[in-house]
């Protein structure tokens, strides 16, 4: 028996992962980018559109609120000066900004020898526990926090992006410059490992 593929969205369903940007919006963004390549002042609409989300992305990873503004400004400065290297990949422009933001964050924390902050939201942590099919209890909760704290580099980033920032696999693959299939496999293995450690 073969099930044919007629995937449609159920009415009233919330989209939990991925940026809500239509194809039309993405093309409009692309037009703004092309104008901004000639005249950086034309970049303003994108700056205003994405400032908050980039700020929150950075804020959730550092302690100092003021520093978050500085780094956010650095991100947009770098984006404008590197616009010539941007290629339209049928993804929102934000994915490219997040990639710059991540790099700026790492550089800034390294230079200033500051701590990387992992901001964990309890509700989103519960979603993660559902994903890996473990019971919701205090013991699992605190163990999972500990496991997340023990992650390094791209593993930590992957968990944060997927469960706390609610990014789609495609967006994460664009930000980390890894194939989407590679991201899925990596996440799968990471979750399995964490589940084993949780339940042991």
């Amino acid at each position: 028996m073969v099930v044919t593929n007629q995937i449609t969205k159920m009415p009233g369903m919330q989209i939990s992962y991925g940026q809500k940007v239509s194809q039309k919006d993405m093309l409009e963004e692309f037009a703004i980018i092309n104008r901004a390549k000639q005249d950086p002042a034309q970049f303003k609409p994108l700056y205003e559109k994405y400032y908050e989300s980039i700020y929150r992305f950075i804020y959730n990873r550092i302690e100092d609120e003021d520093q978050a503004h500085d780094i956010t400004a650095d991100v947009f400065f770098k984006a404008i000066t590197k616009l010539s290297t941007y290629k339209y990949q049928q993804l929102p422009f934000s994915s490219w900004l997040y990639r710059i933001a991540r790099n700026e964050l790492i550089d800034s924390l390294r230079k200033n020898k500051r701590s990387w902050v992992v901001s964990i939201n309890s509700v989103k942590l519960n979603n993660m526990m559902d994903e890996i099919e473990v019971d919701h209890n205090e013991k699992h909760h605190s163990r999972l926090v500990g496991l997340i704290a023990g992650l390094e580099g791209d593993d930590l980033f992957l968990i944060e992006m997927r469960f706390f920032d609610k990014k789609s696999f495609k967006e994460i693959s664009e930000i980390l410059s890894v194939t989407e299939a590679g991201i899925k496999m990596r996440l799968y293995r990471l979750l399995e490992k964490m589940k084993t450690q949780l339940l042991s």
């Binding site: 939990s16 992962y17 400032y51 908050e52």
Partner: protein
């Protein structure tokens, strides 16, 4: 990330607070800093363009003047090759005996050694260009007339069909596999065009060669496949493949033979692009929990997981279980290990799938106890047999791979068909193995600019056809194995006539410059 700090339920600033820190002017001022004007790059670019334009104008002006001198300088490599020429009398005798004409062209060698060959061209550029175009067209028409017979088949799109070509190519075409260029379904009769090229002559008639990005291939035969309906060109539906069987059982047994798709460049020369998984079918995605089983369409996996065929095959043969979870949204209760039995909800879940009402995985977060595992088709068939007795599931990830140095190496099963994913030129090929002792074969260029030269290996029934590269006044075929019997075939057109030449010889250790003797071509029947 040596220093980490965990903060639970951190309070984020509100939008107003965040936006109060925005200052676009500050960013723009920084971009336009005096020390680093952003437009510096633009100015440099414009200056560069101006220099190039002036240079081009100067060249054009000089070329249009009456006296034109074109100087060609052979490359250093050619100079070395020419200096290394050594033809002794014995070799000459042997060469003549084997019908090889080797010319010890002292003049050419001397000129080559001096590094210059000069031509003078008078100002008849216009007439010359017209004549060249006419000759090119004539050559093109010559090839078209020589081309292999096109076989026509009409099939009913609504049924599975098997086509067998005159030379034994067998094509198993599934129902409804063709769509038009806009990916719309096509009904009714579809006309299939097929050309079969299994001999060197047929391949040469179609001006084909066996190079994949300059790597030499051994060919097990080439076909051309096209489909049309009501005058519209058709293509294969995505994720649908035609199963092709080669007339030679030896080729079918050789699992290193794979499909290469032909792409012609602007000059009409063929380059082949490999499909490394063309001896394996798309795997079947099936639910294998407990006593329930069902299959998902390949389109579902390809779309939802962005898997291409290579990914699916790798996943199917991964011994670590790739249990991609399919989940419901918040409208259904999240099902974890603490809730109910695993079989609960399955019939409703499958019903939703059949109705096409399951949301996109990338879009939602939900969970079920059901796990879908992608397995290769042969394992699935075996599983179906065992399923009938409701046996407990074992590891069904036994795919067609082997372990080498800790890595999986995928291989096709012998006699596996060739899975064709698109129409056009299709080649059953493999890369020619490493050559032990090789030599360079040089052929003196004819003065006609539209000359085409190729070198052919027979390889038994797996011919290789190679295009040369230009080295000054020579066509160079590099790295040809010695003791190999090869044929050099040349063609050009001039003043409304086609000239051809063939030269057969065994490749020797000594370097030779070969010269082709041309005669007016007779039309082949």
């Amino acid at each position: 990330m040596e220093n980490k700090k965990i903060i639970i339920d951190r309070i984020e600033p509100n939008s107003a607070a965040i936006r109060s820190g925005m200052d676009f002017n500050k960013v723009i001022d920084r971009v336009a800093m005096p020390g680093k004007p952003w437009y510096t790059t633009k100015k440099i670019f414009l200056a560069g363009v101006a220099v190039v334009v002036i240079a081009v104008i100067m060249v054009v002006v000089s070329l249009l003047s009456e006296k034109t001198v074109v100087v060609t300088r052979p490359t250093k490599q050619t100079n070395e090759a020419l200096k290394a020429l050594s033809i002794n009398k014995n070799q000459e005798a042997v060469a003549k005996k084997n019908n090889n004409e080797v010319k010890k062209d002292i003049g050419l060698a001397a000129a080559g050694a001096a590094g210059l060959t000069a031509f003078t061209r008078s100002n008849t550029a216009g007439n010359s260009a017209m004549r060249n175009n006419a000759d090119q067209l004539l050559l093109k028409e010559y090839y078209e007339k020589q081309s292999v017979k096109t076989q026509l088949f009409s099939i009913d799109q609504s049924r599975d069909t098997i086509i067998t070509g005159e030379q034994g190519t067998r094509l198993a075409i599934k129902a409804n596999c063709f769509v038009d260029r806009d990916n719309k379904a096509v009904q009714g009769i579809v006309n299939i065009k097929l050309k079969e090229c299994y001999s060197i002559d047929d391949m040469l008639k179609e001006n084909l060669s066996t190079l994949a990005n300059d790597k030499v291939l051994e060919s097990g035969g080439m076909i051309y496949l096209a489909a049309e309906s009501a005058g519209k060109e058709l293509q294969l539906k995505k994720y649908t493949e035609i199963e092709m069987s080669n007339p030679s059982s030896e080729i079918m047994q050789d699992t290193s033979m794979i499909v290469f798709y032909g792409e012609k460049d602007r000059m009409g020369e063929m380059n082949w692009v490999a499909d490394n998984y063309s001896r394996m079918a798309y795997p079947v995605a099936t639910l294998i929990e407990g006593k329930y089983h069902d299959t998902l369409s390949i389109e579902y996996f390809a779309k939802e997981f962005r898997f291409n065929k290579a990914d699916m095959i790798k996943v199917a043969t991964d011994s670590v279980v790739m249990d991609w979870k399919v989940s419901f949204n918040e409208m259904r209760k999240p099902i974890g290990s603490s809730v109910g039995k695993k079989e609960e909800g399955f019939p409703e879940f499958m019903q939703l799938f059949k109705e096409g009402n399951v949301p996109s995985i990338a879009a939602a977060s939900w969970s079920t106890p059901f796990r879908f595992r992608v397995i290769d088709k042969e394992s699935y068939d075996e599983y179906l047999e065992r399923y009938k007795e409701y046996l407990k599931l074992e590891d069904l990830s036994k795919g067609n791979y082997t372990m080498k140095d800790g890595k999986r190496v995928f291989y096709a099963r012998p006699n596996a068909p060739f899975f064709i994913g698109k129409v056009g030129w299709i080649n059953c090929d493999k890369y020619k193995g490493p050559m032990v002792t090789v030599n360079n074969i040089a052929v003196k260029m004819n003065s006609e600019k539209n000359e085409k030269v190729k070198l052919v290996f027979k390889n038994g029934n797996r011919p290789s056809i190679i295009k040369p590269r230009k080295e000054g006044e020579l066509w160079l075929f590099p790295n040809i194995p010695i003791k190999e019997e090869v044929t050099i075939i040349g063609t050009y057109s001039k003043n409304g006539k086609i000239y051809t030449s063939r030269k057969v010889f065994k490749v020797d250790r000594m370097e030779f410059i070969h010269e082709l003797e041309y005669s007016v071509a007779k039309e082949r029947t």
